[in-house]
Every structure is written in structure tokens, then in C-alpha cells.
Symmetry: C2
């Protein structure tokens, strides 16, 4: 019974890991689409979001089955609840990549980003991909140390996000309001993507250690 249980839990975790992989890839491609005005890549991200959504539904169904048929307790129960939360966070990461891709498509063939903020987004895209890849490893390996290192990537994302505002608020921002609105929303999407990746990792830490790490999710 417990062997069957752990096999099922492991298969659920594999789905979550796959969701991390897809969310990271989606944000990577969305960032390229944004930076290069690549419509095909944007469309690819937009059409593949259903795959992440389907994995979320499947993960929730698996979690439901585990709870209904196996009635886990203690640590096993905590794992299933963490998986339910993580599936939600990972789906949301996919949605945020989708929002970035849609912004790239909406302005095509124009570029969304004024030149001076493009490097910030290249870097935010890199950090986002790192965080999604780390979340995947944390899910698969229950790696608490790696989960803690993600906090500093999240801080790096917050710094990039703050710098973006500084760039826009300087008196010599020549692009006017419309690009500032786009940059504001896009910056927010990357920042939230990072928050959700960190939330996934924190749930794993909670599962392994029984304690929720500080600081709480912003």
C-alpha cells in the first residue's frame, strides 16, 4: 500500500517538475519574442499554454485520487497538499509567460521595449528561467539548500524590477506614457513569476522540514 502510494506521489511530482520545465521554457521563449519582436515565437508560447493548464488539471486529479483512495496522514498528507498548491503556482507561471508573449504579439511588428530597458528584461528572463529550473530540481530532489539559494535570485529579480522604475522615472525618459505602461506591466509579470517559483520551493522546504521558511511570500 505504501509502496503504491509513493509511486503515485512520485508520478504527481514528475508532473509538477514537467510543469516547471514548461513554464521556464515558456518564459524563455516569451522573453526572446519580446526582445526580438518574434511573432512566431510569441504564437508558440500562446498556443502551448494549454499544455501547462492540462498538466495542472491532471496533477489536481492525481492529488484528489491520492487523498480519496489512500487517505494519507502526516508527512504524506503534507506532500499532497504542497503538490496542490504548487500546481496552482506553476500554472500561474505559465499564465505570466503567456501575458509576456501576448504583449509581444500585440505590438508586432513594433518592439514593445524601448532600447534602454531591453537589457533589464533580458536579465529578468534569465533569472526567471533559472528560478523555474531550480524549482524543478527542488521538486525532484527535495533539495532544501537549493530552495534557499532561490531566495537570492528572487532578490535579484526585485532589484531589476526596482531599477526599471528608476529608469522610467528619470527626467530624460523620452518615450512617453504608453511604453511606460507596457514596461510597468511586463516588469510586474516577471516579478510575480519569480514569486511563484519561490513559493513552490518554499512548499517543498515546508514539506521536508515541517517549517515554512521566512520571509513570507510577498
Amino acid at each position: 500500500m505504501r509502496a503504491a502510494y509513493h509511486e503515485k506521489l512520485s508520478s504527481l511530482n514528475d508532473e509538477l517538475a514537467q510543469m516547471s520545465l514548461l513554464a521556464g521554457e515558456a518564459m524563455k521563449k516569451a522573453t526572446s519574442a519580446l526582445l526580438d519582436g518574434d511573432l512566431d515565437l510569441a504564437e508558440e508560447v500562446i498556443s502551448s499554454d494549454t499544455e501547462i493548464d492540462a498538466l495542472r488539471t491532471s496533477a489536481e486529479d492525481q492529488a484528489f485520487g491520492l487523498l480519496a483512495l489512500q487517505a494519507p496522514v502526516a508527512g504524506d498528507l503534507r506532500s499532497v497538499i504542497a503538490a496542490i498548491h504548487s500546481a496552482g503556482d506553476l500554472e500561474r507561471m505559465g499564465d505570466l509567460a503567456l501575458h509576456v508573449a501576448k504583449a509581444a504579439r500585440r505590438r508586432h511588428p513594433e518592439l514593445v521595449l524601448p532600447q534602454e530597458v531591453a537589457p533589464y528584461f533580458a536579465e529578468m528572463g534569465r533569472v526567471a528561467l533559472d528560478l523555474a529550473q531550480d524549482a524543478r530540481r527542488v521538486i525532484l530532489d527535495r533539495d532544501v539548500e537549493l530552495a534557499f539559494t532561490m531566495e537570492s535570485d528572487d532578490d535579484a529579480m526585485d532589484d531589476l524590477h526596482r531599477h526599471l522604475f528608476t529608469v522610467m522615472m528619470t527626467k530624460d525618459w523620452p518615450h512617453g506614457v504608453a511604453p511606460a505602461v507596457d514596461v510597468t506591466l511586463l516588469g510586474r509579470f516577471y516579478e510575480r513569476f519569480a514569486d511563484h517559483a519561490v513559493a513552490v520551493a518554499r512548499r517543498v522546504v515546508f514539506m521536508v522540514t515541517g517549517k515554512m521558511p521566512d520571509p513570507p511570500l510577498a
Copy 2:
């Protein structure tokens, strides 16, 4: 056993209803703080967010206890899982009200909002409060009809959000980039608040009918 179970589930739902009440009140006060530059009110919202956070922790603990001790199946299990999700959405609604209050505090004694967008935020605040109050009733009464009417309030919020952008993008927006960045983020907070309220209601519909209503959560 089942009577005890339903009593506990009902107490869990009462906590969720209380979270809706507090999140709605928080957004109402945050909106006043924003519109009137009322620092005391902003501080009140900021310091009371811990109350919503504590209720979320308590709701998750109760849900964990129900799953561990009663091993519910079928509809009863679905109710507990819905409660876990809803607690997350409701806590997030509190966070979004907190973000609005912090924006009001950050610019004090200046007003954050240029005069021509203030009425939009007054209206978004009203819709947000309505949605939180409706979510509370849906939680308490399992009212599927009321849940469906929330979709149109959510559409109203989306329309207000879009109009905000139109106002900022017109050529005669005289306020420059900094207020546009504030307005963009604040608009997003209200829009997400509405999304989470609707997500709570949709979970109740799913629980009652076994079907997730369309359209899917944005």
C-alpha cells in the same frame, strides 16, 4: 462522525467568510486612503493584514486536520480542497488591498492619483467590495446563482481597467510617466482582486455542481 465532520467543515467555511469580509473591508479602506490621501486609514489597512494572514494559516490547519482525521471522500473531499484554494485566493486579496494602502502611504501627503482617474478607482473600489461581499455570501450559502452574477462584476472591473489605459494613452495626459506607472500598478491590483474573488466563487460552483464554470480563470 459525519455530523462532527460537517460541523468542522462549517467552521472552516466561517473562517473563509470572515476572510472575505476582512479583504473587502481592507480594499474599501485602502481605496478611501488612496482617494483622500488618508494616512491613518492606510496604516490601519497595513497593520490589519496580519489578521487575514492568520486566518489563512488557521484555515489551512483546519483543512489539514479534516483530511488527516476524517479522510473525506467525494463531495466532502472536494469541499476541503476548495477551501484550501479559497484561503489562498482570499489571503491574496488581502495582500492586494495592502499594496493599494502602501501606495497611498508612499506618496503621502501627495495624492497618488491624478484627478481624472480618481473616479475610476472609486468605482473599482466599489466593484471590488461588492465582489468580496458576494464571495462571502457564496461561501456561506453555496449560492451558485450569485456566483454567476459575479462574472458580470468582474467584466465591469475589466472594462474599468481598460478605460484607465485609454485615459493614460491619450495625447493630453499631462502628468507624465511617474503617475502613469502608479496608476498602471494600482489598476492591476484591483483587477487581480476581482479575479481572485471570482476564483473563490467558481470553486464553490465546482463543489456544488461538480463542474468548473467557463470561462477559465484569467
